[in-house]
Subunit: 433 residues, 4 copies
């Protein structure tokens, strides 16, 4: 099965990075999975993803310990730190945890760093399925600029593909459904690592299990759009996203530029949603334990943009600490409907930081999002002509957030908006009328 037959709609899930940095434990993962099964699964959420450095026993934060020993098997493959993931003992890896997640009707994902552990290279460890060793396949000029765990793998070397195959064979045995590969879609030292992306694609294709392939960090380059789509299911449009207005503001332009590249099985990724309680054991993004720094208007603006554009949605917050507002944000049926099943999404116009997007719903409805990206109250308007739609043919205009039915003109939609706020309108033809 081709990878584009997987992830036919944008993946929806939870990821441990925003709240736990490099430190999440099995208990925390399970607890968030339990919450998802109970509160979110019925809305379509399904992935539970363990982010970076699950193989580092002493991780305490989002700040990495340079050059420290990592848990690894004899084939140069990193293994879960059993002090953090007790069920991984006796070489079981993530299989027990994946089984648990699957038992809840959810899917299980992990994060990995591109490459082979430096400790395997300097100790010259074996590679499964090859008589080459770690030293022979490590790329002599390929490091991650921000983490010292790995060396890149040189695709021209014998044994290189075997190594990646052995990795994904292991993950298939564990029951992994989703792999987020990091230090690969962009690097401040080297740009994107295209050859390693291709090796990973081949490794997944041969492993016998469907896995969503997600590439980080960003910004990926549009010039690589074709090769990214050819090899991955999702890739980051941006560097790590946090709960600050400037990167949210910037995302509008990123979404505009990438909107031609959205489609079944291939999703440009606006990154995690830093909603609810985050930073619990992370200081990335310039802050620590907190409720999201976004205002409520900004949170709605983010959710609306991510949904209309059809970005994957990965919740960053500790789910158990969600308040009602956060949970509502994550369970709005209209938003999830256009995220999962919208079509022909497009920016209608952008003028003086008033922005309008539009998408077709999966029924005959049309959704129009009016955004005020300025720092002042403003009135955002869009006409039938701009939309290419006869507004007067729709006899019902609903505010998706409040469910109010709004009176609107025959030829234009308009909203008075607070700074950074948006209104998402659903245009319906109430047939019985």
């Amino acid at each position: 099965m081709k990878h584009h037959q997987n992830a036919l709609t944008p993946p929806l899930g939870w990821n441990s990075w925003d709240c736990y940095g490099a430190t999440v434990t099995e208990a925390e993962v399970k607890a968030n999975a339990d919450y998802m099964a109970k509160h979110l699964k019925q809305f379509g959420w399904e992935y539970i993803v363990v982010d970076i450095q699950w193989y580092e026993p002493d991780a305490v934060s989002s700040v990495y310990h340079p050059f420290v020993p990592l848990d690894m098997d004899t084939f140069s493959r990193l293994m879960p730190a059993t002090n953090r993931f007790p069920s991984a003992r006796e070489g079981k890896g993530f299989k027990p945890l994946a089984d648990y997640v699957h038992s809840l009707g959810l899917k299980f994902g992990i994060h990995i760093m591109r490459g082979i552990p430096r400790q395997a290279v300097h100790q010259n460890q074996s590679i499964k399925g090859s008589n080459q060793t770690a030293r022979a396949i490590a790329h002599t000029n390929s490091i991650c600029p921000w983490n010292t765990d790995m060396y890149g793998v040189d695709s021209s070397k014998e044994g290189a593909q075997s190594y990646y195959n052995s990795l994904f064979d292991l993950y298939a045995e564990w029951g992994v459904d989703f792999v987020k590969v990091d230090d690969i879609a962009d690097s401040k030292l080297y740009g994107a690592h295209i050859e390693e992306i291709k090796m990973i694609r081949r490794a997944i294709d041969q492993c016998g299990r469907l896995m969503v392939l997600s590439l980080s960090p960003g910004p990926a380059q549009l010039d690589h759009a074709a090769v990214l789509e050819e090899n991955a299911n999702m890739w980051r449009m941006t560097d790590d996203f946090w709960d600050l207005w400037p990167p949210l503001y910037d995302m509008f332009d990123r979404c505009y530029r990438w909107s031609k590249n959205v489609g079944p099985g291939h999703w440009p990724d606006a990154d995690m949603l830093p909603l609810g309680r985050i930073g619990i054991r992370s200081v990335d993004g310039g802050a620590s334990d907190r409720y999201t720094r976004f205002t409520k208007d900004e949170q709605r603006t983010m959710m609306t943009l991510w949904s209309v554009f059809r970005s994957p949605l990965m919740i960053g917050g500790e789910l158990r600490d969600n308040d009602d507002f956060t949970l509502e944000l994550l369970t709005n049926k209209d938003l999830l409907a256009i995220n999962q099943h919208g079509s022909a999404a497009r920016q209608v116009y952008r003028h003086n930081d008033h922005v309008v997007w539009c998408t077709n719903g999966h029924d005959d409805s049309v959704y129009v999002a009016l955004f005020n990206l300025t720092d002042n109250v403003g009135t955002v308007t869009v006409t039938s002509e701009q939309l290419g739609l006869p507004i007067d043919k729709f006899n019902c205009v609903e505010d998706v957030w409040t469910h109010d039915i709004l009176p609107q003109g025959n030829y234009e939609l308009t909203a008075s908006l607070r700074p950074h706020a948006c209104q998402l309108l659903k245009l319906k033809q109430s047939r019985g009328v």
Copy 2:
């Protein structure tokens, strides 16, 4: 009507640049139009485009005379040089010539340079519909690096939009159907001139006539794909293309990278086809009067790539000098069918300069193009798995160039190919069998 409702299929036509540089005359344009009406129109060819500097009375080549006087009306608008276009006398402009082309059932296009004539600026001429003058709207830092006719127009100045409106109003009066705007999609000094692209879009939208908007030169940047699509019908993926192997070789990667951006009303443009007799009064591209320097294999390779990818097709050669081979190239029904009506075109793989593309025909057929871009004879193969298609369900495989029915395996297609050659295969299900 939105511009994406125009040019719903890739424009097909003839352009004077490759054979006549900056010098084409009315008689030559008419003669090529006559030829098209007689020999090509029935295959879908329709545009006759007068390329650069029709306003330069003394043009003799593809080399521009710097700073010379140009024919211009009192509103800073360039007018056809009447020594070259006699029907333009008495201020008639291109209307008589456009009428002639229309009378043949064809469409008429012109080339313009972005901006306002420098002579209008230094003489401080008027602008129609504005009390501002040329001096007031000219951009103080905006020239073309390779031609001295114009200054850019500063969109922030009052009167700037009026100037562009007045230009396209005039072209609408003339009956222009296609405008190729140059020095705008890329500039070695300034990059793309996005604000002028937007002014031109608005000017066309207000002029009351449908015109295809084509942007030059290239390479346009993928980062601008969204804004180009939002404003234009076609834009160049490449700098000027000529009859040499290296740029043809490069086009494969360009097409691969841009293939996500092809669609009704918006066409990444691989540039003119330097086929037949070219260079008659041009020395651009490093040669003068000649038959195309491409081998026959290379010509077929070019036509196949342009067709599968769905580039606009603009013939560069003097049509009256076409030989049989050239005319056949331009009238192959299968090629034109996939160019006009193919769907889901994609590069299937590229490995060691063996390249395979695939596209769906408009019936149930599938077309597979096998290319050998190496300098050696080679066998190019593609499997059902690579294609994502069960080859054995098709019971007829036809060579589109020779119309031979080829024996093929059940699970792969294969071709032994000369250097730079290709084979285009049509896979059909002969229902009666």
Copy 3:
């Protein structure tokens, strides 16, 4: 005579730009010359320089009128606007004004823009000494990004050198001693225009009169240091300098990097001194009519750095409005001594924005400048070892600004300094003691 035998010490003078922008008049030039002759000449000041657009009759500010007609002779050479320079009437050009300046015992300089007037090119004017015309020698891709007066001249064209020769022949007739050529040492569009620099060098060498050649704007690139020194007497290390701390702060690094390239006849230029009353008819630098925005400490810091480094010194203020403090700054004998006759100037160290420079005086003295570039009060110290000098061999340490004799240790010099302040110490051996 080789040009390095000219400007054997850094040129000292006044320039009209900082106070009058593009608008200075003959009366103002004369008045400043009178002031210089009376108050500054005895300290070594000698150049009076008329800055940009003396050929623009309607100049009102530092903001240029784009594309307007300029005063020009029949040989494409710009001429002083006679409404602003009445003595230039009847084609006399700047000769009468130069004569006046010379009569005061001073020297006369002008500013020119690289290239040939665009109006000459579009009118196709003659060139003296060549049968080529302006149109033939203008570079087809060479403009100034911030002024529309000129096109560059293409050194590969016949007549190009003749044009520049005719320019400098005219300036020699006028009695010009100093020429500041602009848009040449750096351009945001094209980098440095090396070939035009060489043409100007040759034009001066053939004109029969010594002229200091000063190149603008900056920042010139160190990679061009050799070619700049080979052709010019001074060149800008920086873009236009104004009375703001950040560019003054940056100048320390520029001086550090360029300090190897300072020497008789060739002077890296830190740009004009925005001291006293400036901005009278200029809004460049973000402000208008004012006394310098520098604090007194910053003014002393600037004068000390420029002097130790041996930059040319060009006063930017209206001399007649000098207050006592400004005049003292400009007439400090020690500063002028090290500027004119110092040797082996060097940055001794820079640490946490405490900076020490050192230079030998022309007698046996040594000057040490202690700078506090931080925003806090701080104590700056330098040791004998750092200086490579036995401090205890000097039995007299004088504060150059206050003339106080300071007690100092045997092995280090130290100063408590306000933010942005400096102390310049003169170390002497009082022999009679």
Copy 4:
């Protein structure tokens, strides 16, 4: 003593890289030292330098073994591989070999890579003089792009300076006189590593022994000229130089641009002289065991440029295999005189790849070098005016290579030169005549 009081003239020596790559042995070093003492010392040659990877027991070529174990002491300091340097046994390091070289009246140098061994970091070894460990001071984003031995050292970390101090303390104990530090003056990943250069400067200054500090590879940037001079004695103007015409051709421009930065104690470095027999166990530079690929004309051209410019001279060939021509090249008294004691060297002009340089001898002589860099025979001429010298005041013009006295005109020097050839003329005033 300041480092600029060391290397008052350009260092002259031999380096093992060009002939032995990473593999030179003690016996070979001694044999070359013996040769130098016997044949070259009397001409001023004095340094014997052991190049890269003397700590790699299994080095076989110029190609490095990635990630292999290196000989190292318990303080993270690399030690000579005792299989290659037997006298280094029992922890004696290079002391015995240095003693031997000193006993011949010569000086001893070594090559090191910037940074700390990766194996020390991954094993978390100690650092002498600090309670920090290798892991604590390694820079987390700092590798060499072409060799896997080291990580960079992070100057902001406690213990970083201690590590470098301990290195140079050890080298001082050994009796090292010259250290070539690699991967530091330029890096394709990071540019120059300025902070590590400064740490090394401080480490040498505190170690109690004079050592010439040489920085590699290049090209160093002119923008760093001041900081390089402030910290080092020599630094490379170029990437590795080999016996091919294009890099020799390029060196003329490099020397032109760097000529202002030559002076006592600080020498821009044109890199080793690939003369005589080279490539014995090296395949760097695209060839293996050979006599230099330079023609005799090119060899003279190289020696002349290096000498006039005053580059350090490091012989790359196996000295024992020198033929007469090579030995003559290395012992020409005039060349060595201008290299060691010339002054005011400058490029007089460059026109169409005819190049003239000039330098003053240490007596009243002047040397003029005429170079023909074209691929055709040509006549190169220089006039008194161009030289700024009255040629007719010199009554004797000698060809430095042939010692012929040449008839020359009163006002110009001229030479007919083969392609890539040069003539070096000595102009003398024979007083008695």
